[in-house]
Symmetry: C2
Subunit: 193 residues, 2 copies
DNA sequence: TGACTAAGTCTTATTATGAGAGTTATCTGC
DNA sequence: GCAGATAACTCTCATAATAAGACTTAGTCA
């Protein structure tokens, strides 16, 4: 059974994960964004099996992240390239590289992949800034609130999240609250989903 | 069969995806970062089944992203909270929200989740900046190169990526090259993996 | 001729998943 | 004092997905 309900979820995180499919989908998108175009190259680069690669490419195409294009006839040969939407996932890739490099799970002597400014050759990183002023915002100051597209479940999730952070968890002095404390909306209620 | 070789890959993207496990793992991390702590709340919030939630929580704990803590005895009750490493995934969450909001696959009238600066209440976003000067870097100027932790496969991947971008693909005038064009290293070669 | 390339499909055994029932220990309301 | 609720799971079963790798098709290369 592939999925249960990633489609109807009012959550951008679920939407993005649903579109990518799984970690194989993500590795394939990584390779495409790095410029790999051919089926066999994708297979060798990611180490995925034929069955899964074939399936994921179809899925990514259906989800509008990848375009399949015939680059020669007789025999027919196809290549795959990211669409505009697929290219948006570059941000995700940067975030993963930044986090993974920090963790360094494989105990490497440096990052495997180094993002940089092509003009200057200098390294780059992702930071959080104010949407209007572009001034930097520290992680400790970040919060979250239901947006206009939030449904009852999202509202419940956020209020439940801040609830726990203030009751048993904090009383015991051991547990920490939400990493992105919810800022309560006027119309937020804590009904069960 | 769960996975083939996500462990030995010299790639931060694979490392992060491997640690999260799959999209259910990501939804669980989302909920934990929003402050949800209890098993039943996680289940209701994410819509995951018991079997999968139980399995994923163990996996996330093994991977050091989540900590299981007894908050009461008789009867024993446990809660789950993100570790420091788990908290790093907040950046990933922000990236997904930013991308998913842009796509708006569910045709909502606004974002479901709104990240902001708690001090001012103003919205925030992720941008790419120079690692030293903190000056903004445009997407079109981004490139990539093998870092010190790159293995033969990563080097091959990057050189193959820029190869395709310059040969058949561009010759035909239809295909575009890598979104993050590789900057060639002096010691990069194009041997097969 | 034989080897090789590219882009897959097909087969089989193993593993994961969804749905939901069952379990254990305790607390709450009446 | 006992039905029902709560919390955090485990168990079962039918179905779906996966890994490994053999096979296919239509050419090119030496």
């Amino acid at each position: 059974m592939r999925s249960k309900g990633f489609e109807g979820m009012a959550c951008s995180i679920a939407a993005v994960m649903g579109a990518i499919g799984d970690r194989w989908g993500m590795l394939i998108m990584r390779d495409l964004l790095l410029g790999i175009r051919r089926y066999d190259d994708l297979r060798q680069s990611s180490g995925v099996t034929n069955t899964t690669l074939s399936d994921r490419l179809k899925l990514l195409e259906e989800n509008g992240l990848v375009e399949r294009r015939r680059y020669q006839t007789r025999p027919e040969r196809f290549e795959y390239q990211p669409t505009g939407r697929g290219r948006d996932l570059g941000l995700l890739m940067q975030a993963m590289v930044q986090i993974g490099d920090q963790w360094n799970l494989s105990n490497l002597e440096g990052p495997p992949l180094d993002f940089m400014d092509r003009r200057t050759g200098q390294g780059v990183k992702l930071i959080t800034v104010n949407r209007e002023t572009s001034g930097p915002v520290e992680r400790d100051h970040l919060g979250v609130r239901p947006g206009r597209g939030a449904d009852a479940l999202m509202t419940w999730r956020l209020s439940r999240g801040s609830e726990r952070a203030e009751s048993s968890a904090v009383r015991s002095g051991q547990s920490q609250g939400a990493d992105y404390p919810a800022v309560r909306d006027d119309h937020s209620s804590a009904r069960s989903p």
